[in-house]
């Protein structure tokens, strides 16, 4: 019954005019019949008419009753208020545009940021029962490490713990299409890889058990995106082959669109272990798994610990345990998590400042409308109705701001997604889904309360009768005080943000000033992977290095060329124990494999001895060059004052699947440090081994050019093509770009926070301007009288500026206190800058003062131009 009533009333709401017309007809009919009856009873026509009316009662009163009876009163009021609010905004388009713009900016930035927070940190992974997905590691004292093939196979046999357990190794191959060969990234995985993710193929099938065993026919599964781009979404793709490094692979399935399209991999193929890889020496696998249903993380950990104990005779690293971690946790690093929290906190502050600004403008508007409100109250409008009306106006503002904000969020995400893709995990889908829209709606509601409810309470609760008397004169002082407080709060919040941004910018500058240890200008780098079929032996690879360097150095514009495994700043893959003959102690060193041209091309100077030379080839005595850091460590640890000429032992990696082997090497030289990890990381202990003595398939070409590196690219490609027409080159980057990439983790949060801080400062300045401009407008009369009484323009300007300065100083003080409390959160993102760095904080204060001063100057100037005669004539 209730529902029916509500429906009837809602219907009535929209049929108001018709229902009114019907009622009119009924009344007329009623009166006519009453008149007829009256005349039948012997009354005159005139008397009958009067009698009919008398007996009917008050017609208008009845109509009103009738309307009340059938309508939803509050809804009509709301609609009227909303209409009125829109009309009032339309009368004041400047105010409307500024407020809606501010809210759109605030809500848009927040919505976009929330989309990132949600996708990276909040939303469960886009796979079924993601809490069952784990990473499994070996666990040496220093932190997680990969495992060996045999240990992995032991883990895989724990089928009561793992429903599926798979390796995951990045791989690259040449796609044979017409023209230049293309380099495509893929992954080598176990047959049950997709069971770990619980992903079903869109077409075809994924790997069957046994397809990762020796002798299985070569098959691949494609990503949806790769299927679209490479095969144009051909539905018959399952009848086709994918040719990788010249070898055809039967396409057995295509994944659905989604997360895997954001991964770098375009195809997956089974990892088939070579006999050489079946050992417990090479820690090269990082498996992911899915726990069996009902097995908790704690149970899995306990079982793995038990397994570790049972393997104590075959795994000789006594203090290495086994570790099981939730997959989701491993996807998001600490730095990323902190950066996202930081940016979200900052953007929330921007929204608060935007709200403060809008609230301030609404208050200012309310102050000038005091008289209207007072009049309406005097005419009998209830306080609730007045608040309702003001709220309705804010509602219009907020809804329009929210809609514009969602549009803004869409644009922001659209622009930011490609820039952020590399920094976010592949599972993060940045989109405006229902959750994000829900957040936007919440934000709009919060904004409505902040910008509508508070100011409307303030406006309506002022003493209305006194407002009637004084509204025409200056502003009410309590409203002005609130507005000044709001501006102080805005300035304070901006100062906090600017301080944070200043600290980050200083840190970033310091980071970028770090000496890489190599000359990074005019250097271009490329990746290549020598396929096993074409380069089956270490000798064949070594021949390629030599030939390619020779050919590259003949290219016009190329000064030097070299081949190495790995580049500066990108980290060194191999970590091995270096021992001295007869000494039990060891040093963990990073192992870098470089050719004879590496030091020269990157211009890393020698400290002593010699560098790697052409004579250090397969068959000649094994040598090693160490960096200054390692030399210092050797002298400290083993009192080896001159390491050159000494012999050390290191496990040197083998070619392809061949495991590393213990090798005695002679230290032939010491070179200056290059930064091998990031710029923020202290120099590592690095041993350089001649690439010719330990050839690798995954290599980098490093080329120093005479002019702009970009100009040499086509020559370089052609030179490589002449050596091997089937070998594709990838990751074409100048060393300057490599450096840029290595500081991206610091750069992104810095610029994001910087942008937010800039917006916040501008908004605070706008708030300051608004309050001062409003005060000047309201006090024109007072200023006019002062000037008529002899005040100079300077006095008037000073008075306005004094007011600005007091607000700024208070804001700075509060803001600095806030910064002291909050910048600690930045600590882990700062490089060699204290969280309370005085220079950065001072710069922040100066910036805020400058922006604030500029904002104050305009109204102060306007105050000075008040013409006393005009003002007094108008208002006197």
């Amino acid at each position: 019954m209730k529902l029916r009533l509500a429906a009837a009333r809602l219907r009535a709401l929209f049929r108001k005019r018709r229902l009114d017309g019907e009622l009119e007809g009924e009344i007329l009919g009623h009166l006519e019949m009453a008149e007829l009856d009256g005349m039948a009873a012997g009354l005159s026509a005139e008397e009958a008419r009067r009698e009919a009316r008398r007996r009917f009662g008050g017609i208008e009163h009845m109509k009103e009753d009738h309307r009340d009876q059938r309508s939803v009163r509050w809804m009509e009021n709301l609609l009227r208020d909303v209409r009125y609010g829109m009309a009032s905004l339309a009368r004041n388009p400047g105010f409307a545009a500024v407020t809606i713009g501010l809210l759109a900016l605030g809500i848009g930035a927040n919505t976009a940021m929330f989309s990132i927070v949600d996708a990276v940190l909040l939303k469960p992974l886009p796979f079924p029962e993601p809490e069952r997905m784990v990473r499994v590691w070996e666990d040496p004292p220093g932190g997680r490490n990969g495992t060996t093939t045999l240990t992995f196979l032991d883990w895989k046999r724990q089928s009561d713990t793992f429903e599926a357990l798979s390796v995951e190794c990045p791989t690259r191959a040449a796609l044979t299409t017409d023209g230049y060969p293309v380099r495509a990234s893929g992954k080598l995985v176990s047959a049950d890889y997709f069971q770990v993710f619980g992903v079903k193929p869109q077409i075809g099938r994924t790997f069957a058990p046994g397809e990762d065993q020796p002798g299985a026919a070569p098959v691949v599964v494609l990503s949806h995106a790769f299927w679209q781009t490479q095969f144009a979404g051909d539905p018959d793709v399952l009848k086709r082959d994918l040719v990788l490094d010249g070898e055809p692979h039967r396409i057995i399935g295509v994944l659905p669109a989604g997360s895997f399209d954001r991964d770098e991999a375009a195809y997956w193929k089974p990892m088939i272990f070579a006999p050489d890889q079946l050992n417990r020496g090479q820690h090269w696998l990082s498996p992911i798994g899915r726990l069996r249903a009902g097995v908790s993380l704690a149970q899995a950990r306990a079982r793995m610990t038990a397994l570790r104990a049972s393997l104590k005779d075959v795994i000789y690293q006594k203090d290495w345990g086994f570790a099981v971690d939730p997959f989701a946790e491993m996807l998001v690093g600490d730095t990323l998590r902190r950066s996202i929290y930081l940016a979200f906190g900052a953007v929330l502050m921007v929204l608060l400042i935007a709200c403060a600004n809008v609230a301030n403008m609404v208050l200012a508007k309310g102050a000038t409308r005091q008289k209207e409100m007072a009049l309406r109250a005097a005419l009998g409008a209830g306080r609730g109705r007045l608040i309702g009306q003001l709220l309705a106006e804010s509602l219009v503002l907020c809804v329009l701001g929210g809609v514009a904000g969602i549009a803004a969020a869409y644009l922001i995400l659209h622009a930011a997604a490609p820039l952020l893709a590399a920094s976010l995990p592949f599972t993060a889908d940045l989109s405006l889904d229902l959750r994000v829209l829900g957040f936007a709606a919440l934000a709009v509601m919060a904004v409505l309360i902040l910008t509508g409810l508070l100011p409307s309470l303030q406006t309506s609760f002022g003493r209305l009768s006194s407002a009637l008397n004084q509204a025409a004169r200056g502003s009410s002082s309590s409203s002005a005080a609130i507005r000044r407080t709001i501006v102080i709060g805005e300035v304070a919040a901006s100062v906090v943000l600017i301080c944070g941004a200043a600290l980050l910018f200083k840190s970033l500058a310091k980071l970028q000033q770090v000496d890489v240890g190599v000359r990074i200008d005019h250097v271009i780098t490329m990746s290549a992977d020598l396929p096993s079929a074409a380069y089956p032996s270490p000798e064949s690879a070594a021949r390629f290095y030599q030939a390619v360097v020779q050919r590259l150095e003949a290219v016009p514009g190329v000064e030097r060329a070299s081949v190495s495994q790995g580049l500066p700043l990108q980290g060194v893959q191999w970590g091995e124990y270096m021992t001295l003959p007869g000494v039990k102690d060891f040093i963990l060193v990073r192992l870098k494999l470089v050719d004879a041209g590496y030091f020269g091309t990157l211009q890393i100077p020698l400290d002593s001895g010699r560098g790697i030379e052409d004579r250090d080839r397969a068959g000649s005595p094994p040598v090693v060059v160490i960096n200054r850091e390692l030399a210092r460590d050797l002298s400290g640890k083993f009192e080896m004052s001159n390491p050159v000429g000494r012999t050390v032992s290191i496990d040197v990696p083998g070619y392809g699947p061949i495991p590393e082997s213990r090798t005695k090497l002679e230290i032939v030289g010491v070179i200056r440090n290059e930064r091998t990890a990031g710029l923020e990381a202290p120099p590592e202990l690095v041993a350089y081994i001649p690439l010719a003595q330990a050839p690798r398939q995954d290599i980098k070409l490093v080329v120093r050019t005479r002019n702009e590196p970009a100009g040499a690219v086509s020559g370089i490609r052609e030179a490589v093509r002449q050596i091997d027409p089937h070998l594709p080159l990838g990751d074409l980057l100048t060393m300057e770009q490599v450096k840029e990439q290595s500081v991206l983790w610091a750069k992104q949060p810095t610029w994001v926070l910087g942008a937010f801080a800039g917006v916040a400062a501008l908004m605070a300045a706008l708030g300051l301007y608004g309050v001062l401009a409003h005060a000047v407008t309201q006090q024109r009369r007072e200023i006019g009288i002062r000037m008529a009484l002899g005040a100079q323009q300077g006095d008037v300007v000073a008075r306005t500026l004094r007011s600005a300065v007091s607000m700024l100083v208070m804001g700075l003080a509060v803001g600095l206190a806030g910064a002291f409390a909050l910048t600690r959160a930045l600590k882990s993102l700062l490089f060699e800058v204290s969280a309370l760095d005085p220079v950065a904080l001072a710069v922040a204060c100066v910036l805020m003062t400058a922006i604030g001063g500029l904002a104050a100057w305009i109204p102060a100037n306007r105050a000075a131009r008040v013409d006393p005669m005009t003002v007094l004539r108008n208002e006197g």
Binding site: L23, G25, H30, R55, H61, M62, D65, R70
Partner: protein, 116 residues
């Protein structure tokens, strides 16, 4: 003290107009607003003072509740007017209202009896 039954006209007792309309429609079948008003006045033998117009808000209320329904028809003067009739729910409601009324009057009568 007895209920005032003097010649003086009283207002329609508060809350009873709905009952009077439902009962009228129950007895007389479909009719339009004027006839309903007249009928109530006639039955009350001019004892109550009824603003005839006040039945229209009551009618819309009853219609919203689903107790009466309307149909367009033509009045004696040839004008298009609404004819109101009782729905099944309305007939049931009439029973409820009559019972309520009887309970209420019995209660009041009992109080008055006890006091006197």
């Amino acid at each position: 003290m007895a209920v005032n039954m003097s010649e003086q006209k009283t207002d329609v007792p508060y809350g009873t107009l709905d009952l009077l309309i439902l009962k009228t429609l129950d007895t007389m079948g479909p009719m339009h607003g004027y006839r309903i008003a007249r009928r109530i006045e006639q039955v009350a033998e001019n004892l109550v003072r009824l603003n005839q117009g006040s039945i229209y808000p009551a009618l819309i209320r009853l219609e919203e509740q689903g107790w009466i329904r309307t149909k367009w028809g033509t009045s004696e003067t040839g004008r298009k007017v609404k004819f109101y009739s009782l729905t099944r729910a309305g007939a049931k409601q009439l029973g409820v209202e009559v019972a309520n009324w009887e309970r209420a009057t019995a209660l009041v009568a009992r109080f008055l009896g006890a006091e006197s």
